[in-house]
Protein backbone atom coordinates (compact mmCIF):
# COMPACT_ATOMS: atom_id res chain seq x y z
CA UNK A 1 0.00 0.00 0.00
CA UNK A 2 2.82 2.39 0.92
CA UNK A 3 4.45 2.57 -2.49
CA UNK A 4 1.17 2.70 -4.41
CA UNK A 5 0.11 5.63 -2.27
CA UNK A 6 3.22 7.49 -3.34
CA UNK A 7 2.44 6.82 -6.98
CA UNK A 8 -1.10 8.09 -6.50
CA UNK A 9 0.21 11.23 -4.88
CA UNK A 10 2.05 11.99 -8.08
CA UNK A 11 -0.97 11.32 -10.26
CA UNK A 12 -2.17 14.11 -12.48
CA UNK A 13 -5.47 15.89 -12.00
CA UNK A 14 -7.02 14.14 -14.98
CA UNK A 15 -6.48 10.67 -13.50
CA UNK A 16 -9.73 8.81 -14.08
CA UNK A 17 -11.68 7.67 -11.03
CA UNK A 18 -13.54 4.37 -11.04
CA UNK A 19 -16.82 5.70 -9.71
CA UNK A 20 -18.96 2.94 -11.21
CA UNK A 21 -16.70 0.30 -9.71
CA UNK A 22 -16.81 1.88 -6.28
CA UNK A 23 -20.60 2.10 -6.39
CA UNK A 24 -20.82 -1.49 -7.47
CA UNK A 25 -18.41 -2.78 -4.84
CA UNK A 26 -20.16 -1.06 -1.98
CA UNK A 27 -23.60 -2.43 -3.04
CA UNK A 28 -24.94 0.76 -1.58
CA UNK A 29 -27.52 1.27 -4.29
CA UNK A 30 -29.10 -2.05 -3.41
CA UNK A 31 -29.89 -0.70 0.03
CA UNK A 32 -30.98 2.69 -1.24
CA UNK A 33 -33.32 1.06 -3.76
CA UNK A 34 -34.64 -1.28 -1.11
CA UNK A 35 -35.28 1.75 1.08
CA UNK A 36 -37.19 3.38 -1.79
CA UNK A 37 -39.26 0.28 -2.35
CA UNK A 38 -40.01 -0.76 1.19
CA UNK A 39 -40.70 2.61 2.72
CA UNK A 40 -43.67 4.53 1.42
CA UNK A 41 -43.37 8.31 1.12
CA UNK A 42 -40.64 9.92 3.25
CA UNK A 43 -39.19 11.63 0.19
CA UNK A 44 -37.21 14.29 2.04
CA UNK A 45 -35.72 11.56 4.23
CA UNK A 46 -34.79 9.40 1.26
CA UNK A 47 -33.17 12.35 -0.48
CA UNK A 48 -31.08 13.19 2.57
CA UNK A 49 -29.95 9.61 2.93
CA UNK A 50 -28.92 9.48 -0.71
CA UNK A 51 -26.96 12.69 -0.20
CA UNK A 52 -25.19 11.29 2.83
CA UNK A 53 -24.42 8.06 0.99
CA UNK A 54 -22.99 10.08 -1.91
CA UNK A 55 -20.85 12.14 0.44
CA UNK A 56 -19.45 9.03 2.09
CA UNK A 57 -18.76 7.31 -1.19
CA UNK A 58 -16.93 10.37 -2.54
CA UNK A 59 -14.98 10.60 0.68
CA UNK A 60 -13.80 7.04 0.07
CA UNK A 61 -12.83 7.79 -3.55
CA UNK A 62 -11.00 10.95 -2.55
CA UNK A 63 -9.07 8.99 0.00
CA UNK A 64 -8.01 6.54 -2.71
CA UNK A 65 -6.74 9.54 -4.70
CA UNK A 66 -4.77 10.72 -1.71
CA UNK A 67 -7.03 13.72 -1.22
CA UNK A 68 -7.15 13.54 2.50
CA UNK A 69 -9.81 15.35 4.47
CA UNK A 70 -11.08 15.03 7.98
CA UNK A 71 -13.45 12.06 8.00
CA UNK A 72 -17.04 13.31 7.77
CA UNK A 73 -18.93 13.51 11.02
CA UNK A 74 -21.81 11.06 10.97
CA UNK A 75 -23.78 11.61 14.13
CA UNK A 76 -27.40 12.35 13.25
CA UNK A 77 -30.67 13.50 14.64
CA UNK A 78 -34.01 12.12 13.43
CA UNK A 79 -37.02 14.20 14.36
CA UNK A 80 -40.66 13.39 13.74
CA UNK A 81 -43.90 12.22 15.28
CA UNK A 82 -44.41 8.67 16.57
CA UNK A 83 -44.58 5.96 13.93
CA UNK A 84 -43.05 7.99 11.13
CA UNK A 85 -40.30 5.43 10.56
CA UNK A 86 -37.36 6.81 12.54
CA UNK A 87 -36.34 3.50 14.08
CA UNK A 88 -36.81 1.70 10.79
CA UNK A 89 -34.67 4.21 8.90
CA UNK A 90 -31.98 4.04 11.59
CA UNK A 91 -31.68 0.30 10.92
CA UNK A 92 -31.23 0.98 7.21
CA UNK A 93 -28.77 3.77 7.90
CA UNK A 94 -26.64 1.37 9.92
CA UNK A 95 -26.56 -1.00 6.95
CA UNK A 96 -25.56 1.79 4.58
CA UNK A 97 -22.79 2.96 6.89
CA UNK A 98 -21.61 -0.62 7.17
CA UNK A 99 -21.56 -1.19 3.41
CA UNK A 100 -19.56 1.98 2.91
CA UNK A 101 -17.14 0.99 5.64
CA UNK A 102 -17.98 3.70 8.17
CA UNK A 103 -19.00 1.31 10.92
CA UNK A 104 -17.38 -2.08 11.36
CA UNK A 105 -20.36 -4.24 12.37
CA UNK A 106 -23.51 -2.41 11.28
CA UNK A 107 -25.78 -3.32 14.19
CA UNK A 108 -28.13 -0.92 15.97
CA UNK A 109 -28.37 -0.64 19.75
CA UNK A 110 -31.60 1.20 20.56
CA UNK A 111 -31.86 2.76 24.02
CA UNK A 112 -33.83 5.33 26.00
CA UNK A 113 -32.95 7.35 29.08
CA UNK A 114 -33.52 4.41 31.44
CA UNK A 115 -30.78 2.40 29.77
CA UNK A 116 -28.25 5.20 30.16
CA UNK A 117 -29.02 7.03 33.38
CA UNK A 118 -28.80 5.52 36.85
CA UNK A 119 -30.78 6.02 40.04
CA UNK A 120 -28.02 6.98 42.45
CA UNK A 121 -24.52 8.40 42.56
CA UNK A 122 -21.98 6.30 40.69
CA UNK A 123 -24.63 4.33 38.84
CA UNK A 124 -24.80 6.36 35.64
CA UNK A 125 -21.26 6.13 34.28
CA UNK A 126 -21.15 2.31 34.28
CA UNK A 127 -24.62 2.14 32.72
CA UNK A 128 -23.76 4.55 29.93
CA UNK A 129 -20.44 2.83 29.30
CA UNK A 130 -22.11 -0.55 29.18
CA UNK A 131 -24.41 0.70 26.42
CA UNK A 132 -21.53 2.36 24.57
CA UNK A 133 -19.57 -0.89 24.65
CA UNK A 134 -22.45 -2.78 23.11
CA UNK A 135 -22.89 -0.14 20.43
CA UNK A 136 -19.21 -0.07 19.42
CA UNK A 137 -18.80 -0.83 15.74
CA UNK A 138 -22.41 0.07 15.06
CA UNK A 139 -25.10 2.68 15.61
CA UNK A 140 -26.31 3.87 18.99
CA UNK A 141 -29.93 4.97 18.59
CA UNK A 142 -31.19 7.10 21.49
CA UNK A 143 -34.96 7.45 21.39
CA UNK A 144 -36.50 10.55 22.97
CA UNK A 145 -33.03 11.82 23.71
CA UNK A 146 -34.33 15.01 25.36
CA UNK A 147 -35.28 13.02 28.46
CA UNK A 148 -31.55 12.79 29.15
CA UNK A 149 -31.63 16.41 30.16
CA UNK A 150 -33.91 17.48 33.00
CA UNK A 151 -33.21 21.13 33.77
CA UNK A 152 -35.85 21.20 36.53
CA UNK A 153 -33.82 18.76 38.59
CA UNK A 154 -30.39 20.08 39.53
CA UNK A 155 -29.08 16.76 40.73
CA UNK A 156 -30.27 14.76 37.77
CA UNK A 157 -27.75 12.21 36.56
CA UNK A 158 -28.67 12.72 32.89
CA UNK A 159 -26.01 15.39 32.52
CA UNK A 160 -23.37 12.88 33.53
CA UNK A 161 -24.52 10.53 30.81
CA UNK A 162 -24.52 13.32 28.22
CA UNK A 163 -20.97 14.18 29.25
CA UNK A 164 -19.75 10.62 28.59
CA UNK A 165 -21.66 10.41 25.31
CA UNK A 166 -20.11 13.66 24.11
CA UNK A 167 -16.63 12.43 24.87
CA UNK A 168 -17.09 9.22 22.92
CA UNK A 169 -18.87 11.00 20.05
CA UNK A 170 -15.86 13.25 19.70
CA UNK A 171 -12.96 10.88 20.37
CA UNK A 172 -14.22 7.60 18.98
CA UNK A 173 -15.83 8.69 15.76
CA UNK A 174 -14.46 5.64 14.00
CA UNK A 175 -15.99 3.35 16.57
CA UNK A 176 -19.63 4.32 16.58
CA UNK A 177 -22.29 6.60 15.14
CA UNK A 178 -24.92 8.12 17.40
CA UNK A 179 -28.44 8.83 16.17
CA UNK A 180 -30.72 10.86 18.44
CA UNK A 181 -34.45 10.69 17.84
CA UNK A 182 -37.55 12.43 19.11
CA UNK A 183 -40.20 15.07 18.58
CA UNK A 184 -38.92 18.04 16.68
CA UNK A 185 -39.75 20.91 19.08
CA UNK A 186 -38.45 19.06 22.13
CA UNK A 187 -35.30 18.10 20.31
CA UNK A 188 -34.72 21.73 19.42
CA UNK A 189 -35.12 22.70 23.07
CA UNK A 190 -32.70 19.99 24.05
CA UNK A 191 -30.09 21.25 21.58
CA UNK A 192 -30.42 24.85 22.63
CA UNK A 193 -29.65 23.90 26.23
CA UNK A 194 -26.93 21.41 25.19
CA UNK A 195 -24.82 23.22 22.62
CA UNK A 196 -22.09 20.60 22.98
CA UNK A 197 -24.46 17.96 21.68
CA UNK A 198 -25.82 20.21 18.96
CA UNK A 199 -22.39 20.96 17.55
CA UNK A 200 -21.53 17.28 17.27
CA UNK A 201 -24.58 16.38 15.24
CA UNK A 202 -23.85 16.79 11.55
CA UNK A 203 -27.12 15.70 10.00
CA UNK A 204 -30.61 16.69 11.06
CA UNK A 205 -33.33 14.75 9.28
CA UNK A 206 -36.99 15.56 9.73
CA UNK A 207 -39.62 12.86 9.23
CA UNK A 208 -42.92 14.30 7.99
CA UNK A 209 -46.32 12.86 8.96
CA UNK A 210 -47.85 10.60 6.34
CA UNK A 211 -50.77 11.70 4.19
CA UNK A 212 -53.95 9.59 4.10
CA UNK A 213 -52.90 8.25 0.70
CA UNK A 214 -49.50 7.25 1.99
CA UNK A 215 -51.05 5.55 5.02
CA UNK A 216 -53.31 3.60 2.67
CA UNK A 217 -50.29 2.53 0.64
CA UNK A 218 -48.47 1.52 3.81
CA UNK A 219 -51.50 -0.53 4.84
CA UNK A 220 -51.63 -2.25 1.48
CA UNK A 221 -47.96 -3.07 1.63
CA UNK A 222 -48.24 -4.47 5.15
CA UNK A 223 -51.23 -6.55 4.05
CA UNK A 224 -49.33 -7.99 1.08
CA UNK A 225 -46.45 -8.92 3.33
CA UNK A 226 -48.87 -10.70 5.67
CA UNK A 227 -50.72 -12.42 2.80
CA UNK A 228 -53.99 -10.65 3.38
CA UNK A 229 -55.96 -8.39 1.05
CA UNK A 230 -58.84 -5.94 1.02
CA UNK A 231 -61.83 -6.29 -1.27
CA UNK A 232 -63.45 -3.19 -2.80
CA UNK A 233 -65.72 -2.60 0.22
CA UNK A 234 -63.09 -3.14 2.86
CA UNK A 235 -60.58 -0.96 1.01
CA UNK A 236 -63.09 1.86 1.14
CA UNK A 237 -63.86 1.15 4.80
CA UNK A 238 -60.20 1.26 5.64
CA UNK A 239 -59.84 4.60 3.84
CA UNK A 240 -62.57 5.96 6.08
CA UNK A 241 -60.95 4.34 9.08
CA UNK A 242 -57.68 6.14 8.38
CA UNK A 243 -59.35 9.53 8.07
CA UNK A 244 -61.17 9.07 11.38
CA UNK A 245 -58.22 7.59 13.19
CA UNK A 246 -55.96 10.49 12.20
CA UNK A 247 -58.24 12.90 14.05
CA UNK A 248 -58.14 10.90 17.27
CA UNK A 249 -55.70 11.04 20.15
CA UNK A 250 -52.63 8.79 20.27
CA UNK A 251 -52.44 8.64 16.51
CA UNK A 252 -49.04 7.21 15.62
CA UNK A 253 -48.83 7.23 11.82
CA UNK A 254 -47.64 3.92 10.38
CA UNK A 255 -47.66 2.24 13.77
CA UNK A 256 -51.39 2.93 14.14
CA UNK A 257 -51.86 1.29 10.77
CA UNK A 258 -49.90 -1.75 11.90
CA UNK A 259 -52.01 -1.97 15.08
CA UNK A 260 -55.22 -1.55 13.10
CA UNK A 261 -54.25 -4.43 10.85
CA UNK A 262 -53.54 -6.61 13.88
CA UNK A 263 -57.02 -5.88 15.24
CA UNK A 264 -58.59 -6.56 11.85
CA UNK A 265 -56.88 -9.92 11.66
CA UNK A 266 -58.28 -10.76 15.06
CA UNK A 267 -61.83 -9.85 14.04
CA UNK A 268 -61.41 -11.62 10.72
CA UNK A 269 -60.31 -14.79 12.46
CA UNK A 270 -63.20 -14.62 14.91
CA UNK A 271 -65.73 -14.00 12.17
CA UNK A 272 -64.63 -17.13 10.31
CA UNK A 273 -64.47 -19.10 13.55
CA UNK A 274 -68.06 -18.19 14.41
CA UNK A 275 -69.25 -19.57 11.10
CA UNK A 276 -68.64 -23.00 12.56
CA UNK A 277 -69.19 -25.84 10.09
CA UNK A 278 -69.78 -23.66 7.01
CA UNK A 279 -67.57 -24.02 3.99
CA UNK A 280 -64.58 -21.66 4.17
CA UNK A 281 -62.40 -21.08 1.13
CA UNK A 282 -58.85 -19.91 0.64
CA UNK A 283 -60.28 -16.59 -0.44
CA UNK A 284 -62.01 -16.22 2.92
CA UNK A 285 -58.72 -16.79 4.67
CA UNK A 286 -56.97 -13.96 2.86
CA UNK A 287 -59.76 -11.41 2.50
CA UNK A 288 -60.43 -8.82 5.16
CA UNK A 289 -64.08 -7.83 4.92
CA UNK A 290 -65.55 -4.38 5.52
CA UNK A 291 -67.22 -5.75 8.66
CA UNK A 292 -63.80 -6.56 10.17
CA UNK A 293 -62.93 -2.89 9.88
CA UNK A 294 -66.24 -1.25 10.70
CA UNK A 295 -66.45 -3.09 14.03
CA UNK A 296 -63.63 -0.86 15.26
CA UNK A 297 -64.27 1.61 18.07
CA UNK A 298 -63.02 4.31 15.72
CA UNK A 299 -66.37 4.20 13.95
CA UNK A 300 -68.51 3.98 17.07
CA UNK A 301 -67.22 6.48 19.59
CA UNK A 302 -66.15 9.27 17.31
CA UNK A 303 -67.04 12.00 19.75
CA UNK A 304 -66.11 10.32 23.02
CA UNK A 305 -62.62 11.19 24.33
CA UNK A 306 -60.55 8.03 24.45
CA UNK A 307 -58.00 7.38 27.12
CA UNK A 308 -56.45 4.42 25.37
CA UNK A 309 -55.54 3.81 21.78
CA UNK A 310 -58.76 3.03 19.89
CA UNK A 311 -57.29 0.92 17.07
Amino acid sequence: MGSSEKILAELADDTPVDLAGAVENSHVFEILDQLDRELIGLNPVKTRIREIAALLLMDRLRKNMNLSAQPPSLHMCFTGNPGTGKTTVAQRMAKILHRLGYVRQGHVVAVTRDDLVGQYIGHTAPKTKEVLKRAMGGVLFIDEAYYLYKPENERDYGAESIEILLQVMENQRDDLVVILAGYKDRMENFFSSNPGMSSRIAHHIDFPDYSTEELMEIAEMMMVNLNYRFDADSAQAFGEYIRLRMQMPHFANARSIRNAIDRMRLRHANRLFERGGEQVTRRDLVTIAAADIRASRVFGEKAAPLMTSPD
Binding site: R104, Q105, K133, R134, M136, G137, G138, D175
Partner: protein, 139 residues
Protein backbone atom coordinates in the same frame (compact mmCIF):
# COMPACT_ATOMS: atom_id res chain seq x y z
CA UNK B 1 12.20 -10.76 35.64
CA UNK B 2 9.75 -10.77 32.79
CA UNK B 3 6.56 -12.66 33.58
CA UNK B 4 5.63 -15.27 31.00
CA UNK B 5 2.03 -16.35 31.51
CA UNK B 6 -0.67 -16.99 28.95
CA UNK B 7 -0.46 -16.66 25.21
CA UNK B 8 2.18 -14.58 23.44
CA UNK B 9 4.11 -13.99 26.64
CA UNK B 10 7.46 -14.88 25.06
CA UNK B 11 6.86 -12.23 22.40
CA UNK B 12 7.29 -8.50 22.85
CA UNK B 13 4.22 -6.93 24.46
CA UNK B 14 1.26 -6.76 22.09
CA UNK B 15 0.36 -3.36 20.65
CA UNK B 16 -3.22 -2.14 21.01
CA UNK B 17 -3.75 -2.98 17.37
CA UNK B 18 -2.59 -6.55 17.95
CA UNK B 19 -4.73 -6.84 21.07
CA UNK B 20 -7.72 -5.60 19.08
CA UNK B 21 -7.10 -8.24 16.41
CA UNK B 22 -6.94 -11.01 19.02
CA UNK B 23 -10.14 -9.81 20.67
CA UNK B 24 -11.87 -9.59 17.29
CA UNK B 25 -10.94 -13.23 16.74
CA UNK B 26 -12.41 -14.21 20.12
CA UNK B 27 -15.63 -12.29 19.47
CA UNK B 28 -15.96 -13.93 16.07
CA UNK B 29 -15.91 -17.31 17.81
CA UNK B 30 -18.76 -16.14 20.04
CA UNK B 31 -16.65 -16.06 23.21
CA UNK B 32 -17.21 -13.67 26.10
CA UNK B 33 -14.19 -11.67 27.16
CA UNK B 34 -13.22 -10.33 30.51
CA UNK B 35 -10.48 -8.21 32.01
CA UNK B 36 -8.69 -9.14 35.25
CA UNK B 37 -5.84 -7.64 37.22
CA UNK B 38 -3.54 -8.64 40.04
CA UNK B 39 -0.43 -7.56 41.88
CA UNK B 40 0.37 -11.15 42.84
CA UNK B 41 1.44 -12.94 39.66
CA UNK B 42 2.26 -16.27 41.33
CA UNK B 43 1.61 -18.98 38.74
CA UNK B 44 -0.80 -20.73 41.13
CA UNK B 45 -2.80 -17.56 41.67
CA UNK B 46 -5.55 -18.45 39.19
CA UNK B 47 -8.14 -16.08 40.57
CA UNK B 48 -7.23 -12.55 39.67
CA UNK B 49 -9.46 -9.61 40.57
CA UNK B 50 -12.21 -9.08 38.02
CA UNK B 51 -12.40 -5.71 36.33
CA UNK B 52 -16.19 -5.61 36.10
CA UNK B 53 -18.18 -8.59 34.93
CA UNK B 54 -17.34 -10.61 31.82
CA UNK B 55 -18.53 -8.85 28.69
CA UNK B 56 -21.30 -10.70 26.92
CA UNK B 57 -23.19 -9.53 23.83
CA UNK B 58 -20.43 -7.30 22.50
CA UNK B 59 -19.97 -7.13 18.75
CA UNK B 60 -16.83 -5.09 18.43
CA UNK B 61 -13.40 -5.08 20.11
CA UNK B 62 -13.47 -1.31 20.67
CA UNK B 63 -15.72 -1.75 23.72
CA UNK B 64 -13.31 -4.22 25.32
CA UNK B 65 -10.30 -2.05 24.55
CA UNK B 66 -12.15 0.73 26.36
CA UNK B 67 -12.25 -1.40 29.52
CA UNK B 68 -8.62 -2.51 29.13
CA UNK B 69 -7.53 1.09 28.94
CA UNK B 70 -9.57 2.06 31.93
CA UNK B 71 -8.13 -0.81 33.94
CA UNK B 72 -4.61 0.17 32.87
CA UNK B 73 -5.27 3.75 33.91
CA UNK B 74 -6.51 2.66 37.33
CA UNK B 75 -3.80 0.02 37.91
CA UNK B 76 -0.79 1.07 35.85
CA UNK B 77 1.55 -1.05 37.99
CA UNK B 78 -0.51 -4.24 38.02
CA UNK B 79 -0.63 -7.18 35.69
CA UNK B 80 -3.74 -7.04 33.53
CA UNK B 81 -4.93 -9.95 31.42
CA UNK B 82 -7.75 -10.60 28.99
CA UNK B 83 -9.47 -13.98 28.95
CA UNK B 84 -11.96 -15.32 26.40
CA UNK B 85 -14.57 -17.80 27.62
CA UNK B 86 -16.37 -20.34 25.49
CA UNK B 87 -19.77 -21.42 26.82
CA UNK B 88 -20.72 -23.74 23.96
CA UNK B 89 -20.31 -26.87 26.11
CA UNK B 90 -22.59 -25.57 28.80
CA UNK B 91 -19.89 -24.19 31.08
CA UNK B 92 -17.46 -21.33 30.63
CA UNK B 93 -14.13 -22.59 29.33
CA UNK B 94 -11.13 -20.27 28.94
CA UNK B 95 -10.03 -20.37 25.31
CA UNK B 96 -7.59 -17.49 25.21
CA UNK B 97 -5.73 -15.63 27.90
CA UNK B 98 -2.99 -13.07 27.49
CA UNK B 99 -1.37 -10.20 29.34
CA UNK B 100 -2.15 -6.66 28.24
CA UNK B 101 -0.32 -4.78 30.98
CA UNK B 102 2.67 -5.39 33.24
CA UNK B 103 4.45 -3.22 35.81
CA UNK B 104 7.51 -1.36 34.57
CA UNK B 105 9.59 -3.14 37.17
CA UNK B 106 8.88 -6.85 37.65
CA UNK B 107 10.47 -8.23 40.81
CA UNK B 108 10.02 -11.89 39.85
CA UNK B 109 10.12 -14.97 42.10
CA UNK B 110 12.36 -16.44 44.75
CA UNK B 111 12.90 -20.12 45.44
CA UNK B 112 11.85 -21.09 48.95
CA UNK B 113 13.35 -24.22 50.60
CA UNK B 114 11.51 -25.90 53.44
CA UNK B 115 13.36 -28.30 55.69
CA UNK B 116 11.25 -31.47 56.25
CA UNK B 117 11.70 -34.49 58.48
CA UNK B 118 14.72 -36.64 57.67
CA UNK B 119 16.57 -33.83 55.86
CA UNK B 120 13.85 -33.81 53.18
CA UNK B 121 13.68 -30.49 51.32
CA UNK B 122 10.51 -29.13 49.80
CA UNK B 123 10.72 -26.40 47.21
CA UNK B 124 8.27 -23.73 46.24
CA UNK B 125 8.30 -20.30 44.64
CA UNK B 126 7.24 -17.07 46.19
CA UNK B 127 6.64 -13.85 44.31
CA UNK B 128 8.75 -11.04 45.71
CA UNK B 129 5.82 -8.78 44.96
CA UNK B 130 3.90 -10.18 47.94
CA UNK B 131 6.62 -9.14 50.40
CA UNK B 132 4.69 -5.95 50.73
CA UNK B 133 1.01 -5.83 51.68
CA UNK B 134 -1.66 -5.91 49.03
CA UNK B 135 -2.14 -2.54 47.37
CA UNK B 136 1.34 -1.21 48.09
CA UNK B 137 3.21 -3.67 45.89
CA UNK B 138 5.02 -2.18 42.89
CA UNK B 139 4.45 1.27 44.40
Amino acid sequence: MRLTQGQFSFLPDLSDEQITAQIAYGLKQGWALNVEYTDDPHPRNTYWEMWGIPMFDLKDPAGILMEINECRRTYPRHYVRVTAFDSSRGWETPRMSFLVNRPADEPGFGLVRQEGPGRQVRYTVRSYAVDRPEGSRYA
